[in-house]
């Protein structure tokens, strides 16, 4: 998932703060009828339980955002918030359950009538659809619509930008180009997916992958009715299979969802569909949005990226205000990675020297202090099974260990330190600050770091190209990563599996290619038992940590406001965000 962090350009927007009305406004929340209960829910109340449980229907949910949606087309969206938002209008075979905390990571049958039948070799998944499911226009959702939806993603020249995992799993060398150029009369030429009848869909994989169900929970596996597909323009008004449908969609301005009468609540395993209307308003003015949030005239920051600094300062200094915020992990780890292809980092002692010399508290402060993330010891975020508080380099202590760092330098043969370059995205102020903080800390052990800010949007070809990393001497690289699906391989595989190293758009910056690690991933893929897989991910995570390639800065958090009038507020670990679909408004307005 992409977490759309403040761009440099939006830095200003993310700043100017609150009007005087904001102060008075916080009281109005408690005066609202039915909102009294919620007004004192407390800090982090929604992190692991439901705040204001209620079944009260009606009213308008007012979501606000400073970052526009990347695409409403389920096949093309990559923002976490859109994936979360899609639950209003898109159903998939499987979906993340509507539960707080770790329970939200469970997949439940949504369009599917039950969990899939998986063949003994783990390669064939057979789903039966629930009967009577309908699109917003009243036509029945068939297995062919799901297949067609998946096929669209193969047409990357039209349906670009979204996750392509299904393509990787299902292409299997047939080089399918998508339905638009499909010679099959029904445009259903993808051979690895079969639809023997309208309620059955069979996926045949080339090799077992226990994560495959997660791929089917993504928008890229959502049903799209072929006769209503508008190709590149589908994002203008996607066809709903969920409880709401689009009344209007104006990019850059806002979106409005109204009830989809063809959605059958009885068929839905978790969606509450409480408000009558869901509005998403796009603004460029973070200042204004935060003012509205604190005044409780807006319900929630749709982007869930946290209050701007000015509002944050205000909230943190006022316990009453703070009680209306949550500061959950969002599934991201911010880290500095060391590239062993760049001397002297081929020597693990030099890498360890950096780990010991790093002032993690300063790094945390550079990212915005403890509300912006917790110090973290390894590379598997807390919301993923298999994660633990493993911390071999005692990074969570928050203090550099200069003695040990110097020892390691000696062991590395560089007792007088060395020079290296840290690559950082120039458009990410927090990352730049992190780089500068690390630069300062490493000075203490005579490691002389040059901060190189590259054009952040080009990371795929700058730090994502191993050749470029080597030629530019990027010994240190500041980055962040969040999983596209919440499993150990979803998070770690692109980062540490040697077979994922590519010449461009690489994410395994350390170019770790350890057969043992790669093998563990394969084992986990074959394991249908999540607990067993989690055990393997733990091993991988520990081995990576021991290898001293990664300096985790923080496990990311975001301090978000919740309007006290909202009901059923909880954080879903699947998105690291408030589960939008569950929300209702207590005052019915």
């Amino acid at each position: 998932m992409k977490r759309n962090r403040t761009l440099a350009v939006a830095a200003l927007a993310a700043t100017l703060a609150l009007t005087a009305t904001a102060c008075g406004g916080s009281k109005s929340g408690s005066s609202g009828e039915g909102g009294t209960k919620g007004s004192a829910a407390g800090f982090n109340a929604a992190v692991d339980k439901v705040v204001n449980p209620s079944d009260k229907k009606g009213g308008t949910l007012n979501l606000w955002t400073t970052t526009d949606v990347d695409s409403l087309d389920p096949g093309r969206a990559y923002y976490a918030s859109v994936w979360n938002f899609e639950r209003f209008y898109t159903r998939t075979l499987l979906a993340f359950d509507g539960k707080p905390g770790k329970d939200g990571l469970n997949l439940v049958p949504d369009l599917a009538a039950a969990k899939p039948e998986i063949s003994a070799d783990g390669k064939t998944y057979t789903f039966k659809l629930k009967p009577g499911l309908k699109f917003e226009d009243g036509t029945v959702i068939t297995s062919k619509d799901i297949k067609y939806g998946i096929e669209r993603v193969f047409a990357q020249d039209v349906i670009s930008g979204g996750p392509t995992y299904v393509v990787n799993e299902l292409d299997q060398g047939q080089n399918y180009k998508g339905p638009y150029t499909d010679t099959d009369p029904n445009k259903l030429g993808l051979k690895s997916v079969q639809t023997p009848d309208d309620t059955t869909i069979i996926f045949t994989l080339a090799k077992p992958n226990s994560d495959f169900p997660y791929l089917l929970a993504m928008g890229s596996a959502a049903p799209v009715p072929q006769k209503l597909d508008t190709g590149a323009h589908y994002a203008d008004k996607p066809v709903s299979s969920g409880p709401y449908k689009f009344k209007s969609a104006e990019p850059g301005k806002g979106y409005e969802l109204v009830r989809n009468e063809n959605w059958d609540p009885a068929s839905d395993p978790f969606r509450k569909a409480l408000p009558d209307v869901v509005k998403l308003t796009v603004t460029t003015n973070a200042d204004d949005m935060d003012a509205r949030l604190l005044a409780n005239t807006a319900d929630l920051d749709w982007g869930q990226t946290g209050l701007s600094q000015a509002a944050q300062v205000k909230v943190l200094q006022d316990q009453a205000l703070k009680a209306n915020t949550d500061d959950p992990y969002n599934g991201f780890i911010r880290y500095v990675v060391m590239a062993p292809t760049v001397a002297p980092f081929e020597n693990d002692h030099c890498r360890k020297a950096v780990l010991y010399a790093a002032d993690t508290t300063a790094l945390q402060t550079a990212r915005g202090g403890s509300v912006a993330g917790s110090l973290y010891g390894s590379m598997l975020p807390p919301n993923i099974l298999g994660s633990d508080d493993y911390d071999p380099w005692q990074l969570t202590k928050g203090k550099p260990n200069i003695e040990k760092a110097k020892e390691e330098l000696k062991a590395c043969g560089k007792p007088d330190g060395f020079k290296t370059t840290i690559a950082v995205r120039g458009n990410k102020p927090k990352e730049v600050n992190s780089a500068v903080a690390l630069q300062t800390a490493l000075k203490a052990v005579n490691i002389d770091v040059t901060v190189d800010q590259y054009d952040g949007k080009l990371n795929a070809s700058v730090i994502g190209a191993p050749d470029s990393v080597k030629s530019k001497g990027y010994g240190l690289i500041v980055m962040g990563w969040g999983a596209d699906y919440p499993t150990g391989s979803g998070y770690l595989q692109p980062l540490v599996d040697g077979r994922f190293i590519t010449t461009n758009g690489n994410n395994n910056y350390a170019e770790i290619n350890d057969p043992e690690i790669n093998g563990w991933f394969d084992q986990a893929a074959q394991s249908t038992d999540p607990a067993k897989a989690a055990e393997l991910y733990k091993k991988i995570n520990h081995k990576v940590a021991d290898g001293a390639y990664y300096l985790p800065i923080v496990a990311d958090k975001a301090l978000n406001w919740r309007n006290p009038r909202l009901t059923n507020v909880y954080i879903s670990d699947a998105f690291g965000e408030v589960d939008f679909q569950a929300l209702g408004v207590s005052d019915g307005k």
């Binding site: 703060a17 990357q156 204004d288 994502g464």
Partner: protein, 332 residues
């Protein structure tokens, strides 16, 4: 006159072509120089070669620069077709293509943005023109008095202050401390009152900067004009002082200000990056900065063309007006 107008319009088109070609060239070359591929920006998180190729094809980046530019020009003059997968979409002239990022048609997108800049420019320009020239004229006529000194000190301060700093201070004081104005922009069509309230501070901030410039300019111009022989002649004829100043001196003073005003207005209409940024307005300037930061070539081209169009048209209008105001100028 018509011949002149025709020639000038051809000239406008040629200038726009040159601006377009240079812009296109630069932004086409930049990825080559930096060794990066804009297509990589628009694939999903984990890029795969086929996907990148598909996107390159969709964006037309697999064609040669000449072909791409030709298609761009074709779009502007006669419109062009885009493959939307299931069918082909026709983008009618003047077609500036589709945004790489949002896949919205660029021309209507920018048209919807320009309203902000028009609102901003029109309100601010009326303010600064009145305020600036009036101050300058009074200062010149009361040369050396305390009023003159104070006005000119303020004006000098005005041209020496970065407008975003003034804007931030204004925001801090009038929005956050006093709460006199909202901190949002509302479209005129939605609510004229909110529209007005939301623009008061940007107008004043922008007008302060320009008014300072205009006060200095009009004062200096009027002082020069007052030293002209024909002003002495007017006095020698026994004309009353108000006639000498109000008629003879004013006409010569305001004429050059007209030029500057036209160009400034044209410049602002094409996007006021700093004002938009400071006051969170979403106009052409915002769109420009966004498009640059996301290598969104069609939008970059579009914004540049819009801005250049306004500037070039402003100079044309100024020239035409000049022919009306200044009998020495002949349109031929």
């Amino acid at each position: 006159m018509l011949v002149y107008l025709f020639r000038r319009l051809i000239n406008v088109v040629l200038m726009l072509l040159v601006v377009a070609a240079v812009t296109f060239g630069i932004f086409f070359m930049v990825p080559k120089l930096t060794g990066t591929d804009p297509a990589l920006l628009y694939v999903g998180k984990i890029a795969d070669h086929a996907a990148v190729e598909g996107i390159r094809h969709k964006m037309g980046l697999d064609k040669s620069i000449v072909e791409q530019f030709w298609l761009f020009l074709k779009g502007v003059f006669v419109g062009r077709d885009f493959n939307a997968g299931v069918d082909v979409t026709h983008c009618y002239a003047p077609c500036l293509g589709y945004s790489f990022k949002t896949e919205q048609e660029v021309f209507p997108l920018l048209l919807s943005r320009v309203g902000v800049d028009i609102s901003l420019a029109v309100g601010a320009s009326v303010l600064w023109l009145l305020l600036g020239t009036a101050t300058g004229i009074v200062s010149a006529l009361r040369r050396g008095t305390a009023l003159d000194r104070i006005s000119m000190t303020v004006a000098l301060a005005g041209v020496s202050l970065p407008m975003y700093f003034t804007g931030l201070v204004a925001l801090a004081v009038f929005v956050h401390q006093l709460g006199w104005f909202p901190n949002t922009y509302t479209e005129f069509a939605d609510d004229p009152v909110s529209w007005f309230q939301g623009l008061v501070l940007p107008w004043i901030t922008l007008a302060f900067l320009f008014a300072a410039t205009y006060a200095r300019l009009s004062r200096a111009t009027l002082l020069d004009v007052l030293g002209e022989d024909y002003i002495r002649t007017a006095r020698a004829k026994g004309l009353k002082e108000p006639v000498v100043i109000g008629k003879h001196a004013m006409r010569s003073t305001l004429t050059p200000i007209l030029t500057v005003f036209g160009m400034d207005l044209g410049g602002l209409l094409g996007g006021a990056v700093l004002t938009e940024k400071t006051f969170n307005l979403r106009g052409l300037g915002y769109e420009a900065v966004q498009s640059i930061s996301s290598s969104d070539l069609p939008v970059i081209m579009g914004v540049t063309m819009f801005a250049a169009f306004f500037i070039i048209m402003a100079s044309l209008v100024v020239d035409l007006l000049y022919a009306v105001v200044d009998p020495k100028v002949k349109l031929a």
